[in-house]
């Protein structure tokens, strides 16, 4: 998912520099960490990078100044990292052309999510259709809040649409309930446990009505799973092979945690 993205990490604290590159590399990025910053802009070929992570409290150089200089030579996305967290700093960073702004101490997972979303915004969506999300044998049409299956559109409620999209982002992976909820909360859908169950069941029966049964599986005690291998033909072909593959993957995932 994050293959082939190369990041430039501009950070003065050696420990953070090291741990950050270890963390990001373990999540599939390739990182470059310069040790000196005074001639950074002159000596870096920005065309090699997909994103710059820029700490603005650097010794000797003003990060805001650096940000402006980077912006002057390249369009590469920049995420500004700082421990100063006033509204003014944020405004200033944004005015200087930063794409996002995150304050220390950041939680690594949040940083990861921000990086992924900036990258997605900058690269993936330029080519892909923003509105149509491909999802196995059907498509989700975001702006119309419908799913398109075999030429017919079925309307979804706002909640159902967001749940489906959240599951789609981790297609054929088990999404634990609380992670799914957190993700929904992040898109301003503040569902509680019961509401989630109700909505998922409603979504599931809606899908079943148009011939997409068993698209969303419930894994007891683990979470939900949107499989991408359903209804290749609607006759309900046996897909045990895929199930076994799924289980192996889940086991690996669990061990990984």
């Amino acid at each position: 998912m994050t293959d082939d993205y190369r990041l430039l990490i501009v950070e003065d604290d050696p420990r953070i520099r090291m741990e950050l590159s270890v963390f990001l590399e373990s999540n599939g990025f390739t990182c470059t960490v310069p040790q000196r910053f005074d001639r950074l802009v002159e000596e870096t070929d920005f065309s090699l990078f997909h994103l710059v992570l820029l700490d603005i409290n650097l010794p000797g150089v003003d990060g805001f100044f650096l940000c402006r200089k980077i912006r002057a030579v390249t369009d590469v996305p920049v995420i500004v990292v700082t421990s100063r967290d006033t509204e003014l700093d944020e405004l200033m960073a944004m005015n200087l052309g930063a794409d996002d702004f995150i304050t220390k101490p950041y939680h690594p997972q949040i940083l990861l999510a921000r990086i992924t979303s900036v990258l997605k915004r900058a690269y993936r969506e330029k080519t892909a259709d923003r509105d149509r999300v491909h999802c196995g044998s059907f498509d989700i049409l975001l702006s119309r809040s419908t799913i398109l299956f075999k030429g017919t559109e079925t309307e979804l409620t706002k909640n159902e649409l967001r749940i489906l999209c959240a599951l789609q982002e981790h297609i054929s992976e088990i999404v634990p309930r609380d992670e799914l909820m957190t993700q929904l909360w992040n898109s301003d859908l503040f569902v509680d446990d019961n509401t989630l169950t109700v909505n998922v069941n409603r979504l599931r029966s809606k899908l079943a009505e148009i011939g997409l049964s068993d698209v969303i599986e419930t894994r007891r005690g683990m979470g939900y799973l949107l499989s991408d291998n359903f209804a290749i033909d609607s006759s309900g072909r046996d897909n045990t092979g895929k199930d076994i593959a799924e289980k192996v993957k889940v086991d690996i995932d669990r061990r990984h945690r």
Binding site: K104, D178, N186
Partner: protein
Amino acid sequence: MNFWMFLRDRLIYILSQLVVLVFLLLFMYAFGNFSPAAAILFGILYFLGAAGPLLYEFRKKNRFYRNLLAAFDQLDKKNLVGELIGPPDFMEGEILYDLLRGTNKAYLDEINRYRRAQEEYRSYIELWIHEIKTPIASAMLTIENHGGEAQALLLEDLLRIEEHAMQALFYARSNSVEKDYLIQELSLQDVCFRSLRKNARLLIDNNVSVEASEINGSVFCDVKWMVYILDQLISNAVKYRCSGDSRIVFHSEDMPNETVLFLADNGLGIRPEELPRVFDKGYTGMLGRTHERATGMGLFLSKKLCGKLGLSLEIASGGEGCGTTAAIHFPKGSMTADVM
């Protein structure tokens, strides 16, 4: 300044004048050159000569002291009274005037010394908090990378350290005379959602459901401060929830003069006798004492920060076990213009 008191101060002078007058009259009588008319004329002239300067002096002093007292009564900062009145044209007044201005200056110098010390301390605290964030961030990354059994426990401690650091930062800010916030027009819903997203894990993990569909309108405030205040209110609602179905309802009301944001929970509530003290620094109440990690700082700080932003914060409760409602009042119109 009372005329009789003025005369009392000059009692010796008046008595001596009277004695002199009586002696003069006796003298004239003894030497026989005496006609009553001449005596009366002499007495009146003498009286005018002696009383005239007294009256003149009384008028002059009375005017000065009356001004001084009136100015003193009207002033908010009483120490500035010396700067407000004109210089008097008699000796005691000049001494008093110089003294007033002198003490005021000394007093202001003293205040400035403390203010500078306080500012220095505050900027040191802010610097320190920004410094401490780097090792916290670094520790979080290390935990994430190396995992291990202690991961979850250490992360929890780190989050607690972060929370305390943020509290110290906002405490320092709440005491500062500087305006280090940025007032903007914000969608109330955006601010609430931002805070809810931030507290998602806390609310989900504790199984608290949130109703936030009825938040409308825009308000003038600083996002970071407002989110911090909402964090405190949300964390209180979670901390003092009842077992069972916990719920926080956000809603706003649009009034002619203000927009009010309500946060109502169905938690443990507050006893009526404890309600007036919830904003006191360090006050935790009965529940706080039996509950985990009540510092008595959350509401105190929230109230103070609200005050600096020109907002008011109120807490109401139906009593023990009947939930708590917090209301933040965002004034509209002229007040908003003032803060800007």
